[in-house]
Symmetry: C2
């Protein structure tokens, strides 16, 4: 079985660390691993499959001989991505920089795997909240068509990186002890609070996060006029995003029918037994690769309405797992430069 | 100015304590105050307007000579309410027991004050999440008609009483210190978690809380077929409920128009300056009587769509303040038994 040289850029961050875990767990055929980060993190040591690796500062020449470069996100993608792709290394990018570029496929492997095939060196990993939403939307769309989606999110702090996780813990401890804590990562106290503001404000007073959920979903589902509206909210949860999704379909689906559709769909776990108090919760869906769906209900406020409550680990399926799955598809489809060796 | 004898039933609970505060703050004309509770709390002392009162166990004869009985919620309403009302004492009830009774007005003073006039001794105070939602819905409905509402809630623990507040604090501290905490009030850990389950499950797998938001809203807005769907979720916030509300109106409204409508409406504070990071958050809307509305956006996924983010203190406007306002309306309209003295 062929093996590949893999660079992970931003290896020390929350998503980067998770990429290493997922590469190991999924036994991705890694020949040589290169861990890259900013100069601040260069020299750190990290363990992959029992071997210690030293983190190097990302430079154009770092990618020589690499087959895959998995970018965890941030400014490095824009700076290094196109050059790396031009060298013949496949870039799988978790930043938002290339996602809406018509030359770049935006892929969720359960939803639009075939889009991997037309890549020109860069494949974009979608926004975490978007990935978590499109997985259950796909089988519903295929079965009944989607007329409109209204989504409200409940997003964990880890979507904002490792510092955000520390901020929630330290701030909560300080607040419980009656102290004062000046927020660094979030604009306001997040402990025991909600912040209805993720990423910057853009047109029509929607945030960039809200626009990502609209525009990326349309691209992934190949439906450029799909009617979607989103409200995104940060909640004091460490990990795993939750979403309340209302869907209007073209054809009527029963709740039982939706449960069946979802249960059959890869990457989805239906967790929906109200009488047994079984429904997805972020605390219990973390460190898992699947998207958990519960509270599946028909919505009679429209002819063909549905409500879903969806939870998934945004560092796993919302980022690292999805990226490693994309790399797997590139191998499977043999669409590495040179035809996959 | 006439003064009234007022009984507060369930005085020692989270809502009961708040009723005492609001009665004092709003200078409700209280002649004699009687504090009632279960036998467990009898004998406790509480201060009202500088005077200490002793809590008594609720009995039918406790209400002799009372003009108003404010029930904070729970089983006492059903047990004592009708008898108390038959004695000529006006019952303002915060439990869910009488809310959908066609003989009982369900009132939010900014929305349907006139309904107070046809009371027959009992006036019901709506569910907290419902009150918070109908206040901004009312001016929108009057201006443009409402075709459909999709709401997702983010509900604070104090909606489940004082023990719930203690559980969040104690559990959070325990979890931060690496310990284990067996939940008592909530079915699962609420610290750093979300629970998409409030009150019991009922028909179509909606919770009773979700049905309350549907049925009570219809009654308050006098629109018995109004299309509403709700998903209610408990969040690790001490106080103030938040709601992401999507509204489809009959006529098109601009975001600017909605801001103006809401700013003019009594009991609403528009807090919506994205560039200045001004939007409502539960931590900063607590201990306030108003309903705060922000993130006001047109929603182009339908012809006449709107998104609102609404926050209010559910112990104040969602319970105590609304109840005391109702008592004020009874006085104002002179609709006490005997015509208001």
């Amino acid at each position: 079985m062929p093996e590949y040289n893999v660079a992970v850029v931003g290896a020390t961050g929350a998503v980067g660390q998770e990429i290493l875990k997922v590469l190991a767990e999924r036994r991705f055929p890694v020949k040589n691993l290169k861990l890259l980060a900013t100069s601040r993190s260069a020299g750190k040591q990290m363990v992959f499959r029992g071997e210690t690796h030293t983190v190097e500062e990302t430079r154009p020449e770092s990618f020589a001989g690499m087959d895959f470069a998995l970018f965890a996100g941030g400014a490095a993608s824009k700076e290094f991505g196109p050059g790396v792709a031009a060298r013949g290394c496949v870039v799988i990018d978790n930043s938002s920089h290339f996602r809406l570029d018509p030359q770049v496929p935006l892929v969720v492997p359960e939803v639009n795997p075939e889009d991997v095939k037309w890549h020109r060196g860069i494949i974009a990993n979608p926004n975490c909240s978007t990935i978590i939403m499109v997985v259950p939307l796909k089988p519903v769309k295929d079965a009944a068509g989607i007329r409109r989606v209204v989504v409200s999110t409940y997003q964990a702090v880890s979507g904002a990186g490792k510092e955000a996780i520390d901020e929630l813990a330290d701030q909560t401890r300080t607040v419980l002890n009656g102290g004062e804590y000046t927020p660094k990562v979030f604009p306001y106290q997040i402990a025991f609070n909600l912040i209805p503001h993720i990423d910057v404000f853009q047109e029509m007073d929607y945030t960039k996060e809200e626009w990502k959920m609209v525009k990326e979903t349309r691209k992934i589902l190949h439906d450029e006029n799909m009617a979607i509206t989103a409200t995104t909210v940060r909640v004091p949860v460490y990990r795993s995003h939750s979403e309340s999704i209302n869907i209007e379909t073209e054809k009527k689906l029963t709740a039982a029918g939706v449960k069946e559709l979802l249960a059959r769909f890869p990457g989805v776990v239906v967790m929906d037994e109200p009488a047994a108090k079984k429904y997805p919760m972020p605390l219990y869906c973390s460190d898992r690769d699947e998207v958990f769906v519960g509270r599946i209900r028909e919505d009679n406020s429209v002819d063909c309405g549905l409500n879903l409550w969806v939870v998934a680990d945004q560092l796993r399926k919302g980022a690292a797992t999805n990226a490693v799955q994309i790399a797997g598809l590139v191998v499977q489809y043999g669409c590495l430069p040179g035809g996959g060796r």
